[in-house]
């Protein structure tokens, strides 16, 4: 009975990431045990290797079918092989990294090492960001929109994104649009679009545009700063 449920969940988890997430939470002890078996010592969730094992377990969920035999054996095999891949990559990367080399955004790596005096600032900033995100999640929830919805419906085409940027500029230019949005909990489409083509595109990405407009309202300075590239520009 339990096995049949597991098979069902496994099938569902292929397309529903939250079912996969639930399965992984359930099998985290297995994932950690497999990692520990490979490492030869205890592995905690914060270890890189556990992340790799977890991703391998997800890969196993996605790729598994009954002709691959027992799922746990398959997952165990995949975890092991991904950990080996990781080790090989590590050996190659470890070879030579200098602190004077460029890190992300061309900053020398040495600049990215945390200064202890910055720690308090960093913590404060983290807390502030968390608060903004929590607030944004709450407001979006009022509109019936979740972060997951936004990730499911994120525009991918550049043309769409350009159109959305125009709409954002219009909303920035006329703050009453945002007021109307917050009041009615509806996207004031008529005031945002110029023609039928735009209307169609924006309607299709209603949730995403709504999310962007909410971020434009007061109280999301950190997130707005992060999205500076998207939100900049003049109204057109």
């Amino acid at each position: 009975m339990e096995e049949r449920q597991f098979t069902k969940d496994l099938k569902k988890a292929k397309t529903d990431i939250d079912v996969a997430d639930e399965l992984i939470r359930k099998y985290m002890p297995f994932i950690k045990a497999e990692t520990a078996k490979y490492l030869g010592h205890y592995a905690s969730e914060s270890d890189d290797e556990v992340s790799i094992a977890m991703i391998a377990f997800h890969e196993a969920i996605l790729n598994y079918d009954s002709d691959k035999g027992n799922f746990m054996h398959y997952a165990s095999m995949l975890i092991r092989s991904r950990l080996i891949d990781h080790d090989r990559k590590e050996v190659r990367h470890k070879a030579n990294i200098s602190l004077d080399e460029d890190g992300d955004d061309n900053d020398p790596l040495i600049n990215t090492i945390a200064d202890p005096s910055d720690k308090v600032d960093t913590n404060m900033r983290l807390e502030a960001t968390k608060e903004e995100i929590a607030e944004l999640a709450k407001v979006l929830n009022d509109f019936g929109v979740s972060f997951k919805d936004l990730s499911d419906h994120s525009p991918k085409q550049e043309r769409t994104m350009d159109m959305i940027k125009k709409v954002i500029q219009r909303a920035k230019a006329d703050t009453t649009i945002l007021d109307e949005l917050l009041e009615t909990k509806k996207l004031p489409l008529k005031r945002l679009v110029n023609d039928g083509g735009e209307r169609k595109t924006i309607e299709r990405h209603r949730k995403y545009v709504l999310g962007m407009l909410v971020i434009l309202t007061n109280g999301y300075e950190i997130i707005r700063g992060h999205l500076w590239h998207v939100l900049k520009g003049e109204a057109v």
Binding site: L126, F147, M212
Partner: protein
């Protein structure tokens, strides 16, 4: 690109990228509110491509196996893998591909042209071709009792040579037992002689046992005299009626007389190869002794 972590699950996180896109990335111990740069986007099971993949891979695999097999087959089919030379008097070379199909027969002399006239080898197996050509040689009178035939096996593959040698066993037995033909098998490493046991009628002149027939052998190192001359034969149509078993130049029965010139019977005088040796040999008046400049 920097990403702001918005939501954290066990497996994945939802992040907001600088370019405004929301992504699901694998959770590598991230915390809500942190900015990250090294992300791994969550893999998704895209059902359609997967089923397409599933369908196409076996087809591709099958197709490539087919192409490779067919290619090798075609390549092999046109390549000589081994040859069998038949030497009676007509000499032919039969070339076969790896799958033993005859791809070419070469006539190595005029008699061979006659032997092969009208013979179709196309698509035939090399063993049957050898078998048939031997039969034709018998029918056309090239191969008869007392004559000999040489089979030479030529291939880089020793197993190939051995296999075809074995496949010829029946034919060789027939040639030996029924036709009394001497068979020489040359696999280019060893030469094997198969000499029919001659059914010798006890002769009044000879007190020797039939076993002594083999004392005067042409093979191996015993003597340098080849007695293939068909004229001095004691059997078959050219039997000269004289068994010379006592007239041996070696072994316990050595009579001490080398009779190369004096003991010529009718057969030798007409076609022996040894007569010219005696009359034209330069060994006696060699220049080495009389006119060498090295002496002084």
């Amino acid at each position: 690109m920097k990403y702001l972590v918005l939501e954290v699950h066990t497996l994945y996180c939802i992040v907001l990228a600088e370019d405004g896109s929301y992504l699901k990335v694998y959770n590598k111990g991230y915390e809500v509110g942190s900015f990250i740069s090294d992300i791994e986007i969550v893999k998704e099971a895209s059902e359609k491509p997967r089923s397409f993949k599933r369908a196409i891979y076996p087809i591709l695999a099958l197709a490539s196996v087919f192409i490779i097999t067919f290619g090798i087959y075609m390549f092999d089919a046109s390549r000589i893998y081994g040859s069998i030379y038949l030497d009676i008097n007509p000499s032919v070379r039969i070339d076969a591909s790896r799958n033993d199909t005859v791809i070419n027969i070469d006539a190595l002399n005029d008699d061979a042209d006659d032997l092969l006239e009208g013979y179709v080898y196309k698509g035939k197996d090399i063993d049957s071709v050898v078998d048939e050509l031997v039969d034709i040689a018998i029918a056309k009178g090239y191969l008869y009792a007392g004559s000999d035939i040489t089979f030479t096996f030529d291939s880089d593959d020793d197993t190939w040579k051995m296999t075809h040698r074995t496949n010829l066993d029946d034919k060789i037995n027939y040639l030996k037992e029924e036709l009394q033909v001497t068979i020489i098998i040359d696999d280019q490493e060893d030469v094997e002689y198969i000499i029919p046991e001659v059914d010798i009628k006890p002769s009044e002149e000879s007190e020797t046992t039939p076993d002594d027939t083999y004392v005067d052998t042409d093979y191996g190192v015993d003597d340098d005299v080849t007695d293939h001359g068909k004229d001095d034969t004691d059997y078959g149509p050219n039997n000269d009626g004289v068994t010379d078993y006592d007239d041996t130049d070696y072994g316990p029965n050595n009579d001490g007389v080398t009779d190369y010139s004096s003991d010529i019977d009718d057969g030798y005088s007409s076609s022996s190869n040894y007569e010219p040796v005696d009359s034209q040999s330069n060994y006696q008046n060699s220049n080495y002794e009389n006119s060498s400049n090295y002496d002084g």
